[in-house]
């Protein structure tokens, strides 16, 4: 026999217990039903397109409906503004997850052939990956290139292949040296202008305080590393569309880059903490990391995550390879793409253009909620914008330096296999963080994996 034979007889208070239980179950069921009745009605309305869908408030009857996948802060507000000023179009924003999560969903929906949005937010680095699967509408046919003159060249060149334009650029993330001025002053460290000076400053700082590192370098953060490689003139991919792809993690420039950072890691002059982890914020706040190679959108987020050093952070151009050079790299930034299969490509293109290149849109996107950094020149060059101050930086004006950096970037050529590259990157580069392999070794291993993958996918690969 087994226990359940006795379960009913054995219970100390047979019947009452059952009643309690039944009553409990009834209460539970009732509670859940009430709850779901509540949600049902509220969630049903947007799904059926009626009522006030988020961002869709105030749409006129008969307006062309567009679904827009986007995740960045403030995008919903910009959409609202668009709907108010464009009565013929009704954009509904949906959050399908941030970055990688959204690309996954978009890829899945494209594969499934249903459920794709009309417009989607896609970072620069992923645009070619969607171009190669023929998933994006060429926007040049809708006259969008008329706003080309309003954009930093680095933004525009990342969204075009030949004469085709596959995305509307929105924001950028140019890098600058964001440093803790008190920490630098305490150890009489001069702000470095070249990487050689940077290494000297790192030596000096670490010698003065063995617990201090000049900055953090997270090998696992692909976007961070690739931005630094771009800035160093060591961007590891070359691609201009089609079936030929260059992968160069083991070239001379790349090896020099890897050796430079591995040296700093070996001497414990940089930390290798995960980007955006609590530990990293703590390091910035307690002097363990004296500077950050920060993208333009970095300081606002940092401000809410640190405490003690608010007011101490200053901005300087990122060090360069040669003296007197002006060269930055780009970390992050998004575009809007129009997804193939949309029945409203023209309206979608109109929305995308407004979103990336209008004063109305940028007023919201660069505002206190959005905090996006423009690739849009009218704002980038705006004196008021450049004079903006932040509590974390005291009287400093970070935007001035970042705006300058945005004008001095070589355009990276993203490979069309970026999703796989990002997924594989973590595993390969983890060993550098753990100290079980060096950065040059990781580059070599990654080169091998990427080449194998690209060949598997049918590409002709050039190396070196």
């Amino acid at each position: 026999m087994s226990e359940h034979h006795t379960s009913r007889e054995r219970r100390p208070h047979g019947r009452p217990a059952r009643w309690t239980a039944a009553a409990g179950a009834a209460v539970l069921a009732a509670a859940l039903l009430t709850a779901c009745a509540g949600t049902d009605s509220s969630s049903a309305s947007p799904a059926t397109g009626g009522g006030k869908a988020s961002g869709g408030a105030g749409c006129a009857a008969g307006a062309t409906p567009l679904t827009f996948w986007g995740w960045s802060a403030g995008y919903d507000l910009a959409v609202k503004k668009f709907n108010q000023t464009h009565p013929g179009i009704c954009v509904k924003i949906e959050n399908a997850g941030a970055a990688g999560d959204e690309y996954t969903k978009l890829t899945d929906a494209l594969k499934a052939g249903s459920g794709t949005p009309d417009v989607a937010q896609v970072e620069y680095l992923e645009v070619p990956s969607f171009v190669i699967t023929k998933s994006l509408v060429d926007l040049s046919q809708y006259g969008v290139s008329s706003v080309r003159k309003d954009f930093a060249p680095v933004a525009w060149s990342q969204v075009t292949q030949g004469s085709a334009q596959y995305a509307m650029p929105v924001d950028l993330g140019p890098l600058a040296l964001y440093y803790n001025s008190k920490e630098f002053a305490a150890h009489s460290v001069q702000v470095p202008t070249t990487w050689a000076e940077f290494a000297t400053a790192a030596d000096k700082l670490h010698a003065a305080d063995p617990k201090a590192a000049i900055t953090n370098f997270d090998p696992v953060s692909a976007q961070d590393v690739l931005a630094l490689m771009q800035q160093y003139g060591a961007f590891p991919f070359s691609y201009t569309g089609g079936a030929t792809l260059g992968i160069h993690f083991t070239g001379a420039r790349q090896t020099a880059f890897a050796n430079f950072w591995q040296g700093l890691i070996d001497r414990k002059e940089v930390t290798t903490t995960a980007d955006f982890s609590p530990a990293q914020w703590a390091d910035f706040d307690n002097g363990a990391d004296a500077s950050r190679l920060s993208p333009a959108w970095g300081p606002v987020g940092m401000q809410g995550s640190i405490k003690k050093t608010i007011g101490d952070w200053r901005t300087a151009p990122i060090p360069t390879v040669a003296p007197g050079q002006q060269q930055s790299g780009n970390w992050g930034g998004s575009t809007l793409v129009v997804v193939k299969g949309t029945p409203h490509a023209k309206e979608a293109a109109e929305f995308a253009q407004w979103f990336g290149a209008s004063a109305d849109s940028w007023k919201i996107l660069s505002g206190s909620v959005g905090g996006a950094f423009p690739g849009y020149l009218p704002l980038l060059d705006d004196a008021e914008f450049q004079a903006t101050t932040l509590p974390i930086s005291g009287t400093d004006t970070p935007n001035k330096v970042f705006a300058q950096a945005a004008q001095h970037m070589q355009s990276p050529q993203w490979p069309p296999i970026m999703t796989a590259a990002l997924t594989k990157w973590t595993s390969v580069f983890a060993g550098v963080t753990k100290g079980s392999e060096t950065l040059p070794q990781a580059f070599a291993a990654f080169q091998q994996q990427m080449v194998a993958y690209a060949k598997d996918q049918g590409f002709t690969v050039t190396e070196g």
Binding site: D108, K111, P278, T423, F429, A430
Partner: protein, 305 residues
């Protein structure tokens, strides 16, 4: 303790043999749902696994090529080895601990046992996602209170996310999540052991340890084997905890950290559905083979009901 006599339902069958068709009707709704939501996708996965899709060149039938790739993937097998090791440590630990707690509660040799039983059970209410998030914060190097505690009591700088510690860390998290649930089930099972048997054993001079291990443990053994089965299947499918930890410390959790992560990262992360589907089929077959083996063993011992 014997199992449900296998002859009983059959005997009933003979008696009511004129009225057997309603049985098929009663199971139909569930079988329909099962067919639509488990079998159809499974068949689809098998179909998918026999194709290959390239970015340049499109999709073509490729037979067993994906299976060969999975079987030759060192990363996949490393994940399989890891979850086997994980299961081998975590399952006996959880159930052993749960049995000891349950036995102590059952014997009444712990004060406030009601309070403890309730507290132990609470993590069952915490979704794996939330549990992993909480523990990530607690253990993060340089920030987590536990990491600092380890530092403070002289253990030195313990990185709970390092390649050596990450698996033990997940064991602790899963132990935290599931011990109480297992305690509750074993305790309930122990409660159904008649008191006279215990009393008689005491009269014979048996000590408490003997009573628990020699008398009660065999009586709740069917419960424990079932728990072993459920916990092991869960352990082999490990996904949520490492994938949430990966959000905090990407370097700690590799592409194929567990077979489920390998499937996810291949199919979803890298967009190679075909290879992912093949890996999923292989994983299901491994788990199926292990369970069938276990069942066959139990059946031989006459433990299976």
């Amino acid at each position: 303790m014997t199992h449900i006599p296998a002859s009983r339902p059959r005997g009933l069958g003979r008696r009511g043999s004129t009225r057997q068709w309603p049985g098929a009707v009663f199971i139909t709704p569930h079988m329909l749902a099962l067919a639509l939501f488990m079998l159809v996708p499974t068949v689809y996965a098998v179909y998918d696994s026999l194709q290959t899709t390239r970015l340049i060149g499109g999709t073509h039938f490729s037979g067993m090529a994906n299976y060969r790739a999975v079987l030759h993937s060192a990363e996949f097998w490393e994940g399989v080895r890891r979850v086997l090791l994980f299961a081998a440590v975590q399952v006996p630990l959880t159930i052993g601990l749960a049995f000891l707690f349950a036995a102590a509660f059952d014997a009444g040799i712990v004060k406030y046992s009601r309070f403890f039983r309730t507290v132990f059970f609470l993590p069952f209410a915490v979704p794996g996602v939330v549990a992993a998030l909480m523990w990530s914060f607690l253990l993060l190097p340089g920030f987590g209170p536990y990491a600092k505690l380890a530092d403070g009591i002289g253990l030195g700088h313990v990185d709970f996310f390092s390649s050596r510690m990450i698996l033990p860390t997940i064991v602790v998290i899963v132990l935290w999540e599931w011990t109480g649930y297992n305690v509750t089930i074993i305790y309930t099972s122990l409660k159904s052991v008649p008191q006279q048997i215990t009393e008689a054993a005491i009269m014979d001079g048996a000590r408490l340890g003997t009573i628990i291990l020699r008398l009660k443990l065999p009586m709740v053994w069917p419960t424990i084997t079932m728990l072993f089965f459920l916990n092991t299947v869960g352990a082999l499918q490990l996904f949520t905890e490492p994938s949430i930890l990966a959000a905090f410390q990407p370097q700690s959790v590799s592409f194929g950290f567990t077979p489920s992560l390998y499937v996810y990262n291949t199919a979803v992360g890298s967009g190679d559905y075909n290879l992912g589907a093949a890996a999923a089929v292989v994983l299901a077959l491994i788990i199926g083979a292990l369970s069938l083996g276990a069942f066959a063993l139990r059946r031989r011992r006459g433990e299976f009901a």
